[in-house]
Symmetry: C3
Subunit: 218 residues, 3 copies
């Protein structure tokens, strides 16, 4: 069992911030897809809580935190409400949303990895589940909105790699017994900054060998 990285109240606040910014991204997609207010709320909830829900089902932590902590459930509703009334303004500050989403990504890959390790998974598996926690909500969001998950698309800026780097840093710290609030914050910040850089410079992952952009996407 790892020592708690942060004071529980700090951890909880960080979680709620991550949930809020992911919920914003879900609600915005729902508005773009022309869903009604319930669709907006559902997509906000799924985006914010889906990754953690998947993690908790895998490690057998049922009922999942999303269904035991009322704050986890209410926060996405507040985000949805905000977007229902303010979506033109929020879209105009899309950059700000992306920055918050990057912060959520950094945070979730760290907390997901440590929680998985706490439940007895190996180091590689913990990092994988941390990655899944960070990106899972976005994948569910896109599947429900009937779109190809942006995680998988070659024409989107790098998203998985920053989370992979953050999760890897955490398991290396665990391996060498160096996981402290400082090092785990460093891992989260590294993932956060890498994601910001990927957006700023449009870093993209290569596709399969010999695959040129002349190949039309189906």
């Amino acid at each position: 069992m790892l020592e708690p990285l942060f004071a529980p109240s700090v951890q909880h606040t960080l979680d709620l911030i991550g949930i809020f910014v992911f919920a914003i991204s879900g609600a915005l997609l729902a508005v773009r897809k022309n869903f009604d207010v319930f669709g907006i709320a559902v997509l906000a909830e799924v985006t914010a809580l889906g990754g953690g829900l998947f993690r908790d089902l895998i490690i057998g932590a049922v009922p999942p935190a999303a269904f035991t902590d009322l704050g986890y459930f209410v926060t996405p509703l507040l985000a949805a409400l905000l977007i229902v009334f303010l979506h033109p303004q929020v879209e105009r500050i899309q950059l700000g949303v992306n920055v918050f989403d990057a912060a959520g990504l950094g945070l979730f890959c760290v907390t997901g990895t440590t929680k998985a390790y706490d439940h007895g998974l190996g180091l590689t598996q913990s990092a994988t589940l941390g990655l899944a926690t960070a990106v899972g909500g976005g994948v569910l969001r896109d599947v429900l909105a009937n779109e190809v998950p942006s995680l998988l698309r070659w024409d989107r800026d790098l998203y998985a790699v920053p989370a992979m780097v953050g999760a890897t840093m955490v398991v290396l710290c665990i391996r060498y017994d160096a996981l402290t609030p400082f090092t785990s914050s460093l891992a989260a910040i590294t993932a956060f900054v890498l994601r910001l850089l990927a957006m700023r410079y449009h870093w993209r992952a290569p596709r399969a060998w010999n695959r040129r952009s002349t190949v039309r996407e189906e």
Copy 2:
């Protein structure tokens, strides 16, 4: 632990009716999408059992009822068989199907909520999970059929709200120690009638503020 609301055999019969009508809606969509008979059976099973399966995974009731009670598994197959041979007739009585589907919605939001509360979830979470039980199968059906879930679309009559009202009535009854076969039947019937009214008068939920129908759906 709540007292069982109904005699077990009554409860079981109600469950099977709910499963049957949801399976009909899944099988009909499969026919419209031109799936083969196995696709029809799969979509019937997923629509009928998906919501309860999700609920059971969340509350840790594994193996889920869908995999322990043979009747739950066979009923959707019968519905699929019926639709394979009689789909033109059933489509003609679409109204009847919708009425049964509304009955399933009312029933599942009540039983889902009480089962979640029985497994130790809080009141708000129990209502949420009851809602998810009622609408989850339909969402899975639409995802597998590669369509935008009709739950999320603004151009469909209200579906989530009746289930939310029913689930809320149940948790209020639990809160004030008034959950009896009578009050829970009342909750199911309220959800059922609200859904019928929503279909009859084409009640729809609003979309995001400033979102006009001139905005084309992507």
Copy 3:
């Protein structure tokens, strides 16, 4: 508790072969959809491990084997790497891939059924879960790639039926106390050969009564 069918090392090798060939099919679809290398790796993992993950969640075997056995996790990555560099060659030997995929189908329906029975499910439910183990990864693959699952489409050669036959043979052997390495191999081989025949002779399942091919697929 059933006796282990094969020596553990034999069983494990067979599992890894099944995982590898399913991962190939996921990675190939990802290349066709023009995903980047991370998308290819994700789709390979999901296709290879999705069916077993679903089975383990249903029977409550958490954390699932996919997250405890490092070989299960690494094998799809190797398959993805292979496809990234060699996809034109592999597509040319599509027949070979299909043969391996059929082998994975036969194998997974047998191991999925026996594992489900070992965890206390009834015979029918065990066969159903064995079928879900065999086809589940492919369904998840198609959902993530935003395509109608080929399992459900009438214009694809039979896929579910061979797995159903294999799983049914296994539960009949269990029922009559005749499950041995020989009979379970026979079940896997029967499923394998049936799938090969279905591909060779383009066996297809019927659609709903009165449904003609003049009906355009939506």
